[in-house]
Symmetry: C2
Subunit: 415 residues, 2 copies
Amino acid sequence: MKCDIITIGDELLIGQVVDTNSAAMAQMLARIGVDVHEKITIGDTREQIVSTLRSVSAEADLVLLTGGLGPTRDDITKSTLAEYWHDNLVRDEASYRNVERFLAERHLEMNALNERQAWVPSRAEVLPNACGSAPGMWYEQDGVVYVSMPGVPHEMSRMMQQEVLPRIVSRLVTQRIVHRTLVLAGIPESRLALVLSAWEDQLPANMKLAYLPDAGVLRLRLTAKGSKDEPVEEAAEAQLAKLRPLLESYLLGEDVQRLEEIVGLHLLAHHAMLATAESCTGGNVARRITSVPGSSRYFAGSVVAYSNRVKTEVLHVSPETLEMHGAVSRETVLEMAAGVRQLLQTGYAVAISGIAGPDGGTPDKPVGTVWIAAASPEDIVARCFHFPPDLDRQSIVERASNEALRMLLGVMPQH
Amino acid sequence: MKCDIITIGDELLIGQVVDTNSAAMAQMLARIGVDVHEKITIGDTREQIVSTLRSVSAEADLVLLTGGLGPTRDDITKSTLAEYWHDNLVRDEASYRNVERFLAERHLEMNALNERQAWVPSRAEVLPNACGSAPGMWYEQDGVVYVSMPGVPHEMSRMMQQEVLPRIVSRLVTQRIVHRTLVLAGIPESRLALVLSAWEDQLPANMKLAYLPDAGVLRLRLTAKGSKDEPVEEAAEAQLAKLRPLLESYLLGEDVQRLEEIVGLHLLAHHAMLATAESCTGGNVARRITSVPGSSRYFAGSVVAYSNRVKTEVLHVSPETLEMHGAVSRETVLEMAAGVRQLLQTGYAVAISGIAGPDGGTPDKPVGTVWIAAASPEDIVARCFHFPPDLDRQSIVERASNEALRMLLGVMPQH
């Protein structure tokens, strides 16, 4: 089955909004064994929507569209689709009641623009929108299935899960695709590729390995394909069993996407609590840890000590340390980690202080210099990182956050 | 000029990595007046790269590609491009020295895979990579310009700025595009659309308004186009002068993308410092504020009080308050805001406590219930938000963060 995704919106084309929808949709589709063949982003113009539909329908079996279903006049997806399908719009009563309910909950009145949202092409199977006012549409024409969904990420996400995926599974899927992911750190991509060369050579034709380096962490993704009744999972696992010994201690975790999930699993296993003391990362490590549901079971909190005053008064870093060694130093992060562990009464702590730029660098400590300390009940270690000065602020914060999470894993038992 | 972007990588197609490159490139292109016509994401297969190049070259004048230039065997963009252009690969000495330098800085040795990175199609104009080992390529063939860049975001970004944009401006650009953005809150999209209907009707044909709602904040984007010597900026500003009076107090800022930038500008103007006390947002407000360069001039820090112990011991919320009213209550966030203001000695503070889910909700306080307090030197206010229970954890955190920043603006003079 060939599946294409079309995301519609001028804001995506000019880069004002990053398209997260197509990645979220692709992840959900991967889980039910549907491979996305192509993703296309186009603007809110009738001509472009029609010409893109024409070109993808020649090859695709399933076309998922998001965006352009809102009430304002730049939203033209629905009327363009009706025209493309040679269909006319009719008012759908269930959708009308949903718009009424949606507006009532928000203490808003119905107007002509909202009312238009309840109109759908006459032959469409209407997909209810549980969190918004624009209904989705499932449409079959000339052997191609079209699904049109709202562009608001959580509305699309809910509609995919509740309405679209079940229909795809029961009506369209015949193939199985299995993705397995290994998370590594500490070995460069090109060196690992040489180590794995012989193993890659012997992979069967229905499997493929990809290297995904990102801010100091390397993910390996093994993809295996087969028909619905082949033992694809087992075959992939058999290959991984041969792969694991080659990865030695570089392997941090499997089938989790993110370091913060691995850290969380370890803390849970050790019944331990964590605190963070952050300067240059500005709360990013805390945000990543708390983005995992259930993190309150192992995360006490954080002190974001952006000013030196907070470092001394709240974390009890000694003014002499700051004076003699500076805020970006081994001594300061060791005292920050010890201070936050003491203050928040946790077993584990991590502290980060550095220069994320673009300003604030000195010849001695250029932009990209970051000190990190990690503390366990038994141990405390500190390390200096020199991230390439050509990285931007956000990249330095992300890399420092990754290294902080890795150092935490390093002071935990079994690592 | 028609510009297409092609991003290449299986990790993008299966949604393992969100494609931020195409948005970043589109933003940079918009600034020099280049409109992106279409963005296409495809996998790392020779057939797909070739067929996509064939189909876009029929219409596009400029094709920007990212990805697939790494050293491992899943990276096939360069060899496929050479084949598509009927060219052969030759070793580029400057690129070879750059690979040597890159590896030496990282204390790595050259191997056969790295060495391959210095080979480029013989007729390509080589674009040096200032932060990585893979060179970029500028290639002109049959009236179409192709630019191939690495997929690593900061490598692509630097190469765009230093090598690609200057060449586009001097060799290709003839048109001007101006984007102006207004940030609003407090009015629903459909109501505003009715208010602006007459103004939209009188817009000249070269201008277009788009509505971009996102987590409680609404951005309006006016796009104006013209030739290089038309007064496009002035014409757009003349339209905005008519628009502003219609927006009343809903208008929060202009030509900034993000609420945290607006908050930062106000704090700077008032020579004031800010602190945050965060429970359910887990440091996200601090992270957003510190993502703005120079934020150390107005941001002291944050206490992420995930556990109740931290609320009482560090922020001095009284145990009786927690006992009587609960952690998610008016009384608690008022004490959190007062506590963090006192602790970090700032004029302004914001405190957030709520239930981000998926667990932790009660009939009384379901998932999505969030209390927020904002304090200025003169005033302190608290408000309860009930975000729709169908939102996911991340969406609730983002909405609560937006509301916290808006409430901060509300307690500042002039708002």
